[in-house]
């Protein structure tokens, strides 16, 4: 093969100089007509800067079929548009989710191109969330035209409705930013003044200057304690009300006690001030929480494209003929037309036509199921090849897809939780600390020395300030999240990380998780010596290019040379035939190829009625699975498989991999029940899956992991998402969980140990508040740097 790379997508050019363009006085090669068309559009609009500054090559452009382009027109229907957009004065505001974006230059490209249209008032493209927010005049420019413009640049845009929760997350993130800014900037100021006071202590400072600097420090600390520390106060208040003390209670107490003690010292010119400790403590805690929150918010944004699987539009057959309509408005009894490649918009029965549909998302069955008149079809499944006329039996909300989503929401509230260990420790610790502080005060006030009571109590609180204790878990978790993210594991629920070391059972889905979820060629039996295997596969691949069927895709990698085919004809559910060098070539079932069946192969090829070869197809196991499974078994995990597939392949696979248990033919409800049974027996379950049918059981398990190729719904639901198509990441996740647990244990050990030593000293009055602050800062520093070790490995 030539080493020429496509100018647009950088993939090797296999077609010679069939597609080239004269760009900037240079002849540039392209791999396909799609890439060529996109580059031409980009250059003709004067946007060639894109090629100069992009950091990632573009995705290969598959030319959009005419049929799909025509389908976009259904978005212009007033009802449909109202369902997916908002109206601002005379402008329509809509959010689009854009796939195919690889770097920031893509965002620039789309934005620039859209803004050239006068009807578009504003266009903001977010490169990290791959979303666009548009405001346009729908009377001047229909939505379909905008989608086509984006498609012409090689990206696929689809309307998107952000859920409420996401908006809440966004607002919360902004509040975090503001609080961080307030505490960060003011900490710097107060720190600066504190240094002046430190030096004043040694070299002498006029009392008036000292008082002035203290007053200013107090003034600057007020916004920090009142505004930046608010979340701690609120959380502490809520937990006290619920009689479930958490870490925020001692944090709040220490902050406010220190603040009021320092204010007292400032106003009455006595004792010491610790405003800088108050500010710094707030800032550090806030920073840790912010990073944790941002990691979660990003994880959510990246995976919340729920709407994509819920069909938006449908073609309804009315008295006036076929008309586009909104899928949500379909009623039982309506008749819809489903073209090849479309997603079914509702549950129903086939009135007319036959086709094969892909229900793998809903049932886990990866083989296409052929449907003919009278068969039931499910919303959310994809129609592969034929035209179907379907009578709707239930509205979208009550369809099987709707039921699964509902089931998933139900199980969410039943999600098993392990009690957070740190919170438990905090509760235990806080109660005793408060008792000790009160006792100290009373002892000093009534028996030993009433004058020192206040300051000794302060040093007890400062020395035991749970700073290190409260930083122990969040810092370790934040570092572990960052590290795993770099390795390709996205953790959406930070608690999952704490639960990981307790996992005893790992439950796996089969189709799409252990296997690749698509057909590939396992064996080819040739009946002729006339052609080599590669030639036969190339013949099949050439013919299969005319079909959208999933079987056809199995042959695509074997396409090596373009052949001249004429009069190609596709027979739905049977095969494809065409003429090659004047000879009749047939690819398909045994009957279609007129071959006397000798094997149980799925695809045959015949030339002029003479059988050439039989091809066996199977859903192949992912290459890394056997090694991973045996490794996990050695580590003592119980492994099991729950699959919706009821064929013999499930048993074969289970014994091949030597799994501990296996249940086949599971509905989503059965999967949930199986997992709940395991949990009832005391198991801690991790669930690994990909499909919509797995998502309810995701909530039933302690931890759920969605694989890279999983559906958006499953990724949205899972605690952990694998970002690369490599199941070995599960192993990395487990190891990451174990190291995190170790670091947390070390951190807690240090901070508790330190407190145990310092408390008696502080109570006895040997620790001046100054030393208490140094001790506290030192142990916090130690804990933070210990957590940072997680980043380096």
């Amino acid at each position: 093969m030539s080493a020429v790379k496509c100018f647009h997508c950088h993939e090797p050019v296999l077609t010679g100089d069939r597609f080239t363009l004269q760009l900037d006085n240079q002849q540039q090669p392209f791999c396909c007509a799609g890439c060529q068309a996109v580059a031409e559009t980009i250059f003709s609009n004067g946007l060639q800067d894109y090629y100069k500054f992009r950091t990632e090559s573009a995705a290969k452009v598959a030319a959009m079929p005419e049929q799909l382009l025509a389908e976009l027109a259904s978005f212009d229907n007033a009802e449909v548009l109202a369902d997916i957009s908002r109206q601002h004065d005379n402008l329509t505001e809509i959010e689009l989710s854009i796939s195919g974006m690889s770097c920031a230059a893509c965002a620039w490209l789309i934005e620039k191109q859209l803004k050239q249209q006068p009807a578009i008032a504003s266009a903001a493209i977010n490169a990290s969330t791959q979303r666009a927010l548009l405001r346009f005049d729908s009377n001047l420019l229909p939505l379909s035209q905008i989608l086509k413009t984006i498609a012409a640049l090689g990206y696929q845009a689809s309307p998107f409705v952000a859920d409420q929760e996401e908006q809440v997350f966004k607002n919360e993130l902004n509040r975090y930013l503001k609080r961080l800014a307030v505490s960060g900037i003011l900490t710097m100021q107060v720190m600066m003044l504190a240094f002046a006071l430190y030096f004043g202590e040694y070299t002498g400072i006029e009392a008036s200057h000292e008082g002035y600097l203290r007053w200013i420090s107090m003034l600057l600390t007020i916004p920090v304690v009142l505004y930046a520390a608010k979340p701690f106060v609120l959380s502490a208040w809520r937990s006290t009300k619920a009689r479930q003390m958490n870490m925020d209670v001692p944090v709040t107490l220490a902050l406010y006690y220190t603040f009021f003690a320092s204010s007292y010292a400032t106003i009455f010119h006595t004792g010491e001030v610790y405003f800088e400790s108050v500010c710094m403590f707030t800032f550090l805690l806030q920073l840790g929480k912010f990073f944790e929150f941002r990691a979660r918010a990003q994880a959510r944004e990246a995976t919340s494209n729920l709407l994509k699987i819920m069909p938006v539009t449908a073609t309804q057959i009315t008295e006036h003929g076929p008309e586009p309509t909104s899928a949500r408005r379909l009623q039982a009894g309506d008749i819809i037309l489903v073209k090849a490649g479309e997603t079914l918009a509702a549950d129903g029965t086939v009135l007319e036509g036959n086709s094969s549909v892909d229900e793998s998302m809903l049932t886990g069955e990866y083989r296409p199921i052929s449907k003919t008149t009278g068969d039931a079809v499910l919303a959310g499944s994809i129609n592969h090849d034929g035209l179907l006329k379907v009578q709707v039996t239930s509205v979208l909300a009550h369809s099987r897809l709707g039921q699964i989503i509902q089931l998933q929401q139900q199980t969410l509230s039943q999600k098993p939780r392990l009690v957070e260990k740190t919170d438990q420790l905090a509760k235990y610790f806080v109660e005793r600390l408060l008792v000790i502080a009160v006792l100290t005060f009373l002892l000093w006030y009534f028996w030993w020395n009433p004058d020192r009571a206040f300051w000794v109590t302060l040093s007890v609180l400062v020395a035991t300030c749970p700073c290190a204790l409260s930083l122990a878990t969040p810092t370790a978790i934040t570092c572990a999240l960052a590290r795993l993210n770099r390795q390709g594991v996205l953790i959406k629920n930070a608690q999952a990380l704490e639960t990981l070391p307790d996992i005893s059972h790992i439950v796996l889905d089969k189709t799409g998780t252990l296997t690749e979820g698509k057909f590939s060629i396992s064996r080819l039996s040739s009946f002729t010596t006339q052609f080599s295997e590669a030639e036969i596969l190339n013949l099949i691949a050439n013919l299969e290019r005319y079909s959208e069927h999933p079987i056809a895709r199995a042959f695509a990698p074997h396409f090596s040379q373009q052949l001249e085919l004429t009069a190609v004809e596709v027979t739905i559910g049977a095969g494809i035939m065409g003429y090659w060098q004047g000879q009749l070539l047939r690819v398909g079932s045994a009957a279609f190829c007129q071959v006397a069946t000798k094997t149980d192969a799925m695809v045959y090829i015949s030339l002029n009625g003479e059988a050439l070869a039989a091809v066996h197809l199977e859903d192949k196991l992912r290459a890394e699975v056997p090694a991973l499974i045996s490794q996990l078994q050695q580590q003592g995990y119980q492994l099991g498989m729950l699959t919706g597939d009821s064929s013999a392949q499930a048993e074969q696979l289970s014994s091949e991999l030597n799994l501990n248990f296996m249940v086949k033919g599971c509905s989503p409800e059965q999967k949930v029940a199986e997992i709940q049974q395991l949990i009832a027996k005391g198991a801690k379950v991790l669930m690994l899956g990909d499909g919509i049918n797995d998502s309810p059981s995701f909530n039933a398990a302690h931890i759920s992991v969605a694989v890279h190729s999983g559906t958006d719904l499953s990724k949205n639901q899972a605690d952990v998402v694998l970002l690369q198509p490599d199941l070995r990441l599960v192993q990395k996740l487990l190891v990451g969980g174990a190291t995190t647990a170790k670091i947390i244990k070390q951190n807690l050990g240090w901070s508790v140990g330190y407190n145990l030593v310092i408390i008696p000293l502080a109570v006895a009055g040997f620790v001046s508040p100054y030393i208490a602050v140094i001790g506290m800062s030192f142990s916090s520093l130690l804990v933070v740097s210990n957590s940072l070790r997680l980043l380096k490995k």
Binding site: G46, K52, K112, S128, K178, H209
Partner: protein
């Protein structure tokens, strides 16, 4: 040293302005996408003038 009675309040004023500007930036969604804006400076506003610009070699 009595100058600090004037200078420190002025410094605080600047700090307050800084925080206000930050709040404004958060409100006007400048922190939503930190990736794209970094690139914006690389692209020419007007592409008509591109023809006579010397083409830089692709740094790939």
């Amino acid at each position: 040293m009595s100058i600090i009675y004037v200078l420190i309040p002025i410094a605080i004023l600047f700090v307050a302005i800084g925080i206000w500007i930050f709040f404004w930036a958060v409100r006007s969604k400048q922190f939503e996408d930190l990736e794209k804006e970094g690139f914006s400076i690389l692209f020419d506003e007007d592409n008509k003038a591109k023809a006579d610009e010397q083409k830089k070699p692709d740094d790939r």
